[in-house]
């Protein structure tokens, strides 16, 4: 019967059907693990787990509370603090990432001996899992016995062995960002390297004839011509910051505590980590509302970035 049905189809319909059949395994996975959760989390964001909710049927037993989760979120100073921390994280992370990636790319573009080895070596951390990298950096930063504190102690600087980088609210976020920048700059380096190698040599030769110094060539030719890569890294870096979680989970768990305007806050608790904490506490509705708030913030930030990107072209 099925065969009859297919043979009756026009070639156009038959092709479409066949294409859909081939696509169906992916579409099924996509629908179950991406599309459905997107809509289901919106549904959850209007519901709340109460103290009496049956834990065996937790999702079906959640109470409908309308916009309560969103209203609570707007009033939650811990949420606003976590957003502030997220933007602070982005402000530290993005410029440092661009700077280190660009420096590595420029150095490797000079065809140093063994440059292909260095290119692989710098890219290698990028393929490692963030949790692994975070754990390694925790050992490096450890105030007692950590390599960094040992070296600094030998140089007569005892700050690193007293409070520790991750133990002080002043340096904890910077410590996380440095670990992340060194992990990710390999990828940025590849992007910059490709862009730099695409710049025509004749441009530099013309500059040479005009008597431009190396610094002038770098600032007046290289940087303007790799600007799309810089803007791309700003956009992806911002999205990455808004989604950041693993590095904080692995390295600080949001700590250390700090008093801000009389309230006790966590110095490295980014929005993604705060969302995880709410989910872990079974505040599923609240966490879903927060994920939607973060989604809209990410869309808004990406829109602004895209506008800037467009205008720069």
């Amino acid at each position: 019967m099925m065969e009859k049905l297919v043979s009756k189809m026009s070639p156009k319909w038959r092709d479409t059907t066949v294409a859909l059949v081939f696509l169906s395994p992916f579409l099924a996975v996509y629908a179950v693990f991406l599309v459905y959760p997107i809509f289901y989390s919106m549904y959850l964001s209007f519901r709340t787990v109460s103290v009496d909710t049956d834990m065996f049927n937790i999702f079906s037993d959640m109470r409908f509370t309308g916009l309560k989760n969103y209203i609570e979120l707007a009033k939650d100073y811990h949420f606003w603090w976590s957003l502030t921390v997220t933007f602070y994280y982005a402000i530290l992370y993005i410029p440092l990432l661009i700077f280190s990636s660009l420096v590595l790319a420029v150095l490797l573009n000079n065809h140093l001996k063994g440059h292909s080895f260095f290119r692989s070596a710098y890219f290698m951390p990028n393929v490692l899992d963030m949790f692994v990298v975070g754990t390694i950096w925790m050992f490096l930063y450890a105030p007692q016995g950590g390599v960094i504190s040992q070296i600094m102690n030998a140089l007569g600087i005892d700050f690193f062995s007293r409070e520790g980088i991750l133990g002080s609210p002043r340096t904890a976020m910077l410590g996380v960002v440095v670990a992340l920048v060194l992990k990710n700059s390999g990828f940025g380096m590849i992007l910059f390297l490709a862009a730099i190698q695409n710049i025509s040599r004749s441009v530099y030769e013309a500059a040479d004839i005009d008597g431009a110094s190396n610094w002038q060539k770098f600032t007046k030719i290289t940087i303007p011509l790799v600007r799309p890569i810089i803007l791309f890294m700003v956009v992806t870096g911002m999205i990455g910051a808004l989604n950041s979680f693993t590095e904080i989970y692995a390295m600080t768990s949001g700590k250390p505590n700090v008093v801000v305007f009389g309230k006790t806050m966590e110095a490295t608790r980014v929005a993604g980590y705060y969302l995880f904490r709410q989910w872990d506490r079974m505040n599923y509705g609240y966490a879903a509302a927060m994920s939607y708030a973060l989604l809209f913030i990410t869309l808004a930030v990406s829109y602004v970035n895209a506008k800037i990107l467009k205008s720069s072209h």
Partner: protein
């Protein structure tokens, strides 16, 4: 123009459609809800137990299980190990997917949530009330709830029992006898006044370079390790109706002030509560810290390290000597197919004979008070101090989200210890947050 092609041989297209349909049907199958545990086969009833013991404990537990099976031929017990730090998450997921075992070993801090959501079998329907009187009171009480706790709008204070403690622990004072002797101190401090005095004497800058090499005391940050301070001052955490946090009391302020003063005023505490500092256990082994609070799990470790240590009761405060309570409870899920058999096994687990065996094999505190005189402590005489200490231990506050309470308290205690807030301010803020985020949730 690219000619259109049929990418699939004609007979395969309907086959692919049929396969897709079959896959969808298969995917939607198996969504039924089942009771946990296997049904009885040939008269044998199968129980599943999820436990979180360490390797040594696991071996002893397997021995207990096999002995139980030998004595009860109609019951077979399947033991599954799950990691302690993930057990709450795993149980939550298992409840949602209806794959919980018959019995699980759980953190007593998770019990209130399980009880409130009516996820467990009420063991009072059996003879648990008779069993529980023989168990360490603080450990047993973590499983006892008034009806008003889990029945909406009920005011009944009738007590119901939802689990039995399978293991209990708490901290006592460990002191380094050699460092004490060097400082001319003959015994452990008995009161907080003595404790402060001794801690100051034991804090030393032996080479005179202005840096302290040896501290009198080292404290953990967490609330659990701070309970001995609060409990010896008789601090009540939560009001009887469970709606108000009472931590801004004078007793609470004095208790926390004592801990803060040891670090900030007397300079006798090492700052071991700071992230990345040498932990109390490690510093005690390295002879950097003369006194710490820790539990029986460290007895063997310190002995193996050759530390000449003694164990003493937590110093007395206005409410006498007291400590915290750790350990775990065994509970039966409401979906169990064989709740009678599950309860019978729990009864066996906490029985005098089993607890004697458990305590001697693992150098742990038995949960059954009747086992106390039977335990041979000649190999580890310090265990006797712990058994004594547990008699005055105070259970943790029974709240639905203990982790959040601890997280709020840890943060506020950190601000007091680091001098960012006064003790009074820190406790006031803790009360405000606990009332809002832990106690008055709907």
């Amino acid at each position: 123009m690219i000619p259109k092609k049929n990418y699939l041989p004609k007979p395969l297209a309907p086959l692919a459609l049929a396969a897709l349909l079959a896959a969808s049907l298969l995917a939607s199958a198996g969504c039924g809800r089942a009771k946990s545990g296997k049904a009885a086969v040939d008269g044998v009833k199968y129980l599943t137990v999820w436990q979180t013991y360490n390797n040594e404990e696991h071996e002893v537990f397997l021995g207990i299980v096999s002995e139980y099976e030998k004595n009860n031929p109609g019951v077979k017990i399947k033991v599954q190990r799950i990691p302690w730090d993930q057990h709450v998450t795993k149980i939550k997921v298992a409840m949602i997917t209806h794959t919980v075992p018959d019995i699980a070993r759980v953190d007593p801090a998770f019990m209130p949530r399980l009880v409130r959501s009516r996820s467990l079998i009420d063991l009072s329907d059996y003879d648990a009330d008779k069993i529980i009187v023989d168990l360490v009171p603080a450990a047993a009480q973590a499983n006892v709830f008034p009806e008003s706790f889990f029945v909406r709008d009920s005011t009944s204070s009738r007590k119901r029992i939802f689990g039995l403690p399978d293991q209990t622990t708490g901290v006592a004072l460990f002191y380094n006898k050699k460092l004490f002797a060097d400082a001319g101190l003959a015994r452990a401090p008995a009161t907080w006044e003595e404790f402060v005095k001794y801690a100051k004497i034991l804090t030393r800058d032996s080479d005179g370079d202005g840096r302290v090499e040896q501290f009198g005391f080292a404290a953990d940050l967490s609330l659990w390790f701070t309970f001995p301070f609060f409990n010896t001052y008789g601090v009540k955490f939560i009001s009887d109706d469970g709606k108000t946090c009472l931590l801004d009391s004078l007793a609470a302020r004095e208790a926390l002030q004592l801990k803060v003063d040891l670090y900030a005023k007397h300079r006798a505490e090492a700052g071991a509560w700071q992230a990345g500092a040498i932990s109390p256990d490690t510093g005690f082994i390295n002879r950097k810290y003369a006194m710490i609070f820790t539990g029986p799990w460290n007895l063997k470790r310190f002995k193996d390290a050759g530390i000449p240590f003694g164990v003493s009761l937590i110093p007395r405060g206005p409410a006498g000597s007291s400590t915290n309570v750790g350990g775990s409870s065994m509970a039966v899920f409401r979906t169990s197919r064989h709740p009678d058999e599950a309860y019978k096994f729990l009864k066996y687990l906490v029985s005098t004979a089993t607890q004697k065996k458990w305590a001697e094999a693992l150098s742990q505190i038995p949960v059954n008070l009747k086992a106390y005189p039977m335990v041979n402590v000649s190999a580890l005489p310090e265990l006797k101090i712990f058994m004594e200490q547990m008699k005055t231990a105070v259970p943790r506050p029974k709240v639905l989200d203990y982790d959040e309470l601890e997280s709020i308290m840890n943060a506020e205690m950190y601000t007091a210890l680091s001098g960012q807030k006064t003790v009074e301010r820190a406790l006031k803020d803790a009360v405000e947050e606990i009332n809002k985020r832990v106690l008055n949730v709907e």
